[in-house]
């Protein structure tokens, strides 16, 4: 029992402090300001706070790995990389939301909750103990439950929030129970101490195996991995589109970052067993995600199922549990975040034009009226489908290389087959966009969203730029990954 006071490391949690302080200020000040002004100010403050948090993480990126708060946190480049990804996704989500008139009344809460969610994710990215993991996970989850349902006038939004909450809580309970079982097998809750406790003796105790299985299930819920993905389409469709964009990018990123961290830090000797479990989940992701996406006509639902299928690819990198896999994971997560945020930003633009959820047919012929945005959408779809020269292609190749290097060629082959099926639904969007026969749709409302367009351009540049010149990103990912694998 180390009940002696421990040094409080403010530098370790600097980003969280920045974000939560800003959130509090927004909440307090927002009360006294008229709605529109409060929304604008809180958006500006959020952008600054997220930018500052990302900058702080960036300055600490190359630092040597260290533990903080008596091993409940591990501050390393891997976590900082995850943090930066989260903060940038949050920043883009703020930008996407800026044009949303419907959020006007909720602007303050929206931004405060978004900042708090980022803080929770950021904590999770560096968590080194199941206690921290659980608290951080719940911190951001609760923010997301509310954010999904923030359109309280809209029943779909509430429904999405409620389903997400219930299923998410079940996932959290699984994680918790798994942690309790692993705690029972090791007597420790910190990942590194668990590994130390497991470093000798039989690595395959049944209690421990049960614990790992439950932890995997719990994280699977958050990473919307099949078969724990049933909340995904509902929450994604019900949520306001900027929230969907944020969830798809940041939640996925942080869930996979922590999954890799738990598995390789705490249970490296058990890798033979959880590799198999992950393989099962990966196959389920490919099947459920692809079959689900094939029959969607709503673009958000289609993208929701596509994220399920993508969990399969990303988990392939986790299953490789090597420095190469970590690198591939971070590389693909970055691209993945960019293409999802970009795609959802475009969906948001179209929704605002037509004033209702966008079906694929609502995009028919749109490419001839808004060619540049539509070309960006094509880029995102091609990247999701894995075509060169986009980052999506290199990410897949990278992940498959990691899988092959770890002797899991069958996962790469399954991924290849899943990619083929994915084409069928991803390419429906470009086909619709440039459908020659469709009447060019007229705008229901004047549509001019400079911030959305900015987000689209930035994300498209990321997707294409890191596809053509990937070395800078790969170098960063290498630094981050090696800090985890030491």
């Amino acid at each position: 029992m180390s009940d002696i006071p421990i040094p409080i490391s403010f530098s370790a949690i600097a980003p969280e402090i920045v974000l939560l302080a800003t959130a509090s200020v927004i909440l307090v000040v927002g009360v006294f300001l008229p709605g529109e002004l409060a929304r604008r100010l809180s958006a500006a403050a959020s952008v600054i706070a997220l930018g500052a948090a990302a900058a702080v993480s960036a300055t600490q990126f190359e630092d040597t790995a260290r533990y903080a708060f008596d091993h409940t946190l591990r501050i390393d480049a891997f976590g900082q990389g995850g943090r930066m990804l989260i903060f940038v996704s949050g920043l883009l989500a703020v930008c996407v939301a800026f044009g949303m008139r419907d959020l006007r009344e909720r602007g303050v809460e929206y931004h405060a909750l978004l900042l708090a969610a980022c803080a929770g994710m950021s904590l999770l990215a560096v968590a080194n103990s199941f206690v921290t993991t659980f608290v951080a996970l719940e911190l951001f989850s609760i923010c997301l439950y509310v954010l999904v349902a923030i359109e309280t006038d809209d029943l779909l939004s509430l429904e999405g929030g409620l389903k997400y909450l219930i299923v998410g809580s079940v996932g959290a309970a699984f994680l918790l129970y798994g942690a309790a079982l692993a705690y029972g097998a090791t007597g420790a809750l910190e990942f590194d101490r668990m590994r130390a406790a497991l470093s000798h003796g039989d690595p395959h105790g049944v209690l421990l195996m049960a614990g790992i299985a439950f932890v995997l299930v719990g994280l699977g819920f958050k990473a919307n991995a099949a078969p724990f993905h049933m909340w995904t389409p509902d929450a994604y469709e019900g949520a306001p589109t900027p929230v969907t964009a944020f969830m798809s990018a940041a939640t996925k990123a942080v869930a996979l970052v922590i999954a890799l961290r738990v598995l390789v830090t705490a249970f490296p000797r058990q890798s033979d067993v959880w590799e198999i479990g992950l393989a099962g989940i990966i196959f389920a992701c490919f099947i459920a995600g692809n079959l689900g996406a094939l029959r969607q006509s709503n673009v958000k639902r289609l993208l929701a199922y596509s994220t399920v299928a993508h969990s399969g690819f990303l988990l392939t990198a986790v299953a490789a549990h090597s420095a190469l896999g970590g690198r591939a994971l971070l590389y693909y997560l970055t691209i993945y975040a960019a293409m999802n945020v970009g795609a959802f930003a475009i969906v948001a633009m179209r929704e605002r034009e037509i004033g209702r959820p966008a079906e694929i047919r609502d995009f028919a012929g749109w490419g001839y009226r808004r060619p540049f945005v539509s070309i960006a959408m094509v880029v995102f779809m091609l990247s999701l489908a894995g075509f060169p020269p986009t980052g999506g292609f290199l990410g897949k190749l990278y992940i498959w290389s990691a899988a092959v290097a770890n002797g899991q060629t069958y996962l790469a082959i399954a991924g290849a087959i899943a990619t083929v099926v994915g084409l069928v639904y991803y390419l429906r969007v470009p086909f619709a966009l440039f459908d020659r026969d469709a009447a060019v749709p007229a705008a229901a409302r004047p549509a001019n969203f400079p911030l959305d367009a900015g987000v689209t351009v930035v994300t498209a540049v990321v997707v294409l730029g890191f596809g053509i010149i990937p070395s800078p990103l790969i170098d960063l990912a290498r630094t981050a990954s090696s800090s985890l694998f030491g």
């Binding site: 439950y145 029943l155 779909l156 409620l162 219930i166 942690a179 705690y183």
Partner: protein, 101 residues
């Protein structure tokens, strides 16, 4: 018979399973929230019994945290339920079919 940690863990597993069954079979959001509470309580019992077994404080602290988390979940969940109840009469997860294709 000696009641050791294994017995407590067994009870915790049964509680967890009961909660899981409830989540899968019931449809009223209130009952679903209650079922989740049972799952969390089962986990808490496991944590506390393991903490006792190892003579280690962490598990108890963890369990306290879980209580706070559960309370937060309930607040948000009930907030959602109330917000929905304001806007529609029927509260049944299965009839929430607006979000389906």
């Amino acid at each position: 018979m000696h009641v050791g940690v294994a017995w407590f863990l067994g009870v915790s597993a049964v509680l967890f399973g009961i909660g899981l069954y409830g989540v899968f079979t019931r449809r009223s959001p209130i009952i679903l929230l209650l079922s989740v509470e049972i799952m969390l309580n089962g986990s808490n019992l496991a944590l506390i019994s393991v903490a006792r077994y190892w003579g280690e404080q962490s598990g108890q602290v963890f369990a306290l945290v879980v209580m706070a988390v559960a309370a937060s979940e309930v607040v948000v969940g009930l907030g959602l339920v109330v917000a929905m109840a304001r806007r529609r009469a029927d509260l049944d997860v299965d009839s929430l079919t607006g979000l389906r294709n």
